[in-house]
Symmetry: D2
Subunit: 363 residues, 4 copies
């Protein structure tokens, strides 16, 4: 039950890090959307291991295949099945880890929950699982683009204690973000961040950071009152990404220090008889429903749990053991998290866009 | 579709602020739980308007009634319907607001989404809606208490820029929290916070803050991999509470400045052949599944949008208008948010506890 | 989990036969529908015990109350809560039954499943539970009527071995159906059926029968391929009504004796560029999707399980016991089943009508 | 949304008849079940085109592949993805059909609903779609077998007007059913049925029939009250199979002619303190919950719509056209429907078996 996300635009993902393959079934994509595998490949390539000099050397082509749901270049309205076969499996890398749970990994909790667990590579808890989300989200992005011209751009805004200047509202593009390996669009900060990641790697250590995401060209009216507020679904989506520890939208945690008179977003008239807000501390939502202003939010990623240095822990029997990272892991997951954050946001919005069709008796 | 929360322990809530009544249907509560209305009333009383000198003067008894699902003091396994009738409706208070959307409220987004909206008091967007969640969550708490002795305690850890010392792990009780009107268990901080709230009210203004919540006696193994991770459902739950802007679990946003070697939680042997962690920066979850350590998280609440001071905005037609708060509203929602945060946490955990029964072929 | 029906137009019902009350929460009704309690009362009155001389003498006003979701005569798009309080509770009637499970009732299975059960009157297994469905379905009918002019008319086509002539396609109205107490619109057959019911009652016995239902003015395109075919959801809906044992659509069980060349429905041109079928053996669906022709189906109801005559059975301990019907029960549930069958059909179609809004990229 | 079935044991299927492949993702199978592809292949082989001399000559190996969710021969508790690649695609066979909707097929309704449709072979409306259900149901059967020793056996009880004697309760096995190509275990009837199918084929025609299914070794307590009664889910499941027109359980339509005193199933004591029923007219369910007696039901299949003879119909533009079957089709789908009926029954029961774990506070 855990591997389905969404209500009307719904994805069910599958696959272990070191199994035969990974993929997703997308149920609920309307008929008549132009779609090809190439549409999905670009974000997969941005997520791909080996794509980034700061990341893991695991090299996978991650070529996506569409198994069903598309005929003559158009979606059929039936489930779209996507699959990527694993080509670079190295279960042997993890052989030594079988008897001890890796600290701050899911080895212990999976075994406690399921009685046994994937014999190598983290199974469903591996970040490789996110590949299926990114593939499926390419469809969601295409829908949003066609309907509203929606643009979703995320970037690395902090690495460790290094913070980029606030770039929300500056019209960033994905290619600007990809201008540096660390995916921070501010060149000066990017250089310092890169040094920090390299220093961590040299020290056999890892670092965390923050991803900021902005969504432009969002129509007013997406989001459901009460439990499925747009911000609640975004929070759900972001905290479902491995290694995340926090989410804030609009003014977020820093907004709590303001008084209401300073925090409130006043309305103003816009073209076409709509209203807009002079400021946007709410982050593009009011009462769980989008205002038509840009959505922006921040996601905290903890430092990568697998490190090359030795750590004193215990094995599954409780006996002292020295644990040392093996396998292929990123000293900093932030750059590769960028397309994942964008993808989860796209899945939330496409789902809400379809649900919004059900709001009024008159369409 | 928006008013249902949970998968196996599932609640469907209903009711507008100024309608006939509010309530919930709880579907999925197992049979055989001792339950009475009194079990549900205590948290409702903590949430009740008028219960707190720092809050709104709206005074409602909010007496809960169990309409079905309980017979001779035991749950039947059938839906438990709960209802509270509204006794203190004052739709007239909102009469002047009908033509202009209140800034940082849901008036504009609701009207855009639905074509029309409740004629007074915010309808489903009113914080009064949370009454139904608190009522339903009393059942979830009772289940968790019986199964695991789970304790859920939340408190106000920040008001504006005033921060209480870190009290996670100090064994706080609800009665300690209720020791001050502001519901900050540190007496010295509570006094300063109270002054701040009074100052905001005097200035016709409002303030925000942070609620911290700790959950003790959680079994290992709750939470589903991938999309329904325990922290993802908690984030969803918390961001569905009106006025929330952020969620962080464990080390949260501040954890991003640590290196992996410092952040990782090492395992140690515990009684009964289980493992525990020496530190708990993860906040009680790994890979989306509870570790058996305490869960703790923080929730950001923006300053109350309705303030007594005049604000320059526009009406639904886009014409300039001066908006001024009317109706009954809290200058600071934090104290009354305490039982709501606890309730949403209880709903998440009860749902995951039932789902955990489905994890293994052998029970 | 058992008391929710529907995907987009979704109802969650609650209430035991002898508890405080029964009702439903309808989540997913779009905003902007004119709605009043009176709209829902008429079908409730047709279902009401005491409304029919052939039925149980239990007399309940069954006055429906709308608790939320409607403001100034229009639906808000938020959950519509409906409740009916039980006024004529007579738990004492069932006192003698507590120790023995009534034959062909749910007493034994409920106790086995839940460990204990409602102390009187069947709880959720009572036909009184269907009251909530009928109330909620009034909203679905109103939607369908406004959108398509859909008409749903059911009637008693068999009682015991007495069969009415085939009336499908004859344009029957509900008032024609209500022309006789037995609700068979063919007067001659109705008289014979009435005699049969009276004979059964005199003999301390009961009888079963068949309800036929026709749905006119259905648009083409409702129904989802594969699992949620229109006929599959109708079958689900009908077999969820107490005492039902069978469902058939179109040519049904008798169609199996035909060859394909005789059974196939040929297409013909219709006004507006649409196609119709010359015959309608399919019953208005092809591949799970409505064709635009009328839907018609038949539902089998077993003879009422509770009878006044003595039956030799065993108690919960397995000891021989003579069981004899008490409480108030119909010797033939068919007439009162009419609005229930219509209601379940309306719920299915309203749900599919909303889902059909999601089929194409272009609306 | 249409391609997901089940609540706790949930399958999402995908694939068109003439696309790249078909398959399913099974989410909710508990961890620790021994599973291999061979476990799933046997029912697929029984369903396989070309397996039966009375069926279509389309010959596919239909070799199932497990892509995820199983490690070292045990299920992981994570989604199990199953895929079969299409090897024998012949889209050309259907070229002539593109302009006219085949009578009693889904061509017209799909195009009306989706705006366009699969360019050949029926897409999701093809019976080939059921392959994915059968594959997924192999897992459900394995679970049921391990937990309860459940046996599910279906057979052809009618072809056209030819009826086999009542074999419910006679302890039939699948190998007895497979003793004849027509899959009617009564040899004498099987011979007559076979002649009837051959006669229909020779006449360029087709025939329908009835499948009866019996489920033995079912525990008491499966099924949910109200909407998800065991019989309602079975009816839903069966009517979701292509070409089905009716479902009846226990005494079904013929039971309506009995009086209650004759129809009621009296209880008797059984070993182990349980109760059983002397007769089983209810078909193994009371109030939607299994009694512990065998479940049996019947499913009506219409005659195959595609026939070799010419039929006068119209094309999509409404112009007269002669339609003649092409492609590869069965003159009688009944024999190949046997494993499909068994599979859908297994999916329903496995889902209910998991849900039954949630019924009581005490497990």
């Amino acid at each position: 039950m855990s591997s389905t996300f969404g209500t009307t635009f719904r994805i069910s993902t599958f696959g272990e890090s070191h199994g035969v393959g990974l993929g997703a079934v997308v149920d609920g994509c309307p008929a008549g959307l132009e779609l090809s595998a190439a549409d999905l490949q670009s974000q997969l390539d941005r997520r791909r291991p080996g794509s980034n000099p700061l990341g893991t050397p695991r090299d996978e082509a991650d070529a996506i295949q569409i198994l069903s749901g598309v005929d003559q270049g158009l979606t059929l309205g039936t489930p779209i099945a996507l699959a990527v076969l694993n080509s670079d499996q190295r279960p042997g890398d993890y052989a030594g880890m079988a008897d001890a749970p890796r600290p701050s990994h899911a080895d212990y909790t999976y075994r406690a929950k399921y009685g046994h667990s994937a014999s190598s590579g983290g199974g469903r808890a591996s970040a490789r699982e996110t590949l299926a989300r990114v593939a499926a989200a390419g469809i969601a992005e295409k829908l949003l683009g066609q309907w509203y011209g929606t643009e979703i751009v995320a970037w690395v805004s902090s690495v460790g204690a290094i913070n980029a200047p606030d770039l929300v509202g500056s019209g960033l593009t994905r290619s600007a973000v990809d201008g540096s390996d660390i995916r921070c669009p501010d060149a000066e900060t990017a250089a310092i961040m890169t040094d920090e990641v390299k220093a961590a790697r040299s020290a056999g250590d890892s670092c965390g950071g923050v991803v900021t995401c902005e969504i432009r060209n969002v129509p007013v009216g997406l989001g459901e009152p009460v439990f499925d507020k747009a911000e609640a679904l975004l929070a759900h989506a972001m905290l479902s990404i491995p290694a995340t520890k926090g989410f804030e939208i609009g003014s977020g945690f820093s907004g709590v220090t303001m008084r209401g008179s300073a925090h409130n977003d006043m309305y103003e008239a816009r073209d076409g008889g709509q209203l807009g807000t002079v400021t946007n501390r709410s982050g593009g939502v009011q009462g769980g429903i989008t205002t038509g202003e840009s959505i922006y939010f921040r996601v905290a990623f903890k430092p990568t749990a697998t490190i090359a240095s030795a750590q004193e822990s215990v094995d599954f029997e409780g006996k002292p053991v020295t644990v040392k990272g093996a396998g292929r892991h990123d000293p900093c997951v932030l750059p590769r998290a960028i397309p994942i954050v964008e993808s989860m946001a796209a899945l939330v919005l496409a789902d809400l866009a379809l649900r919004a069709r059900l709001s009024q008796v008159q369409q």
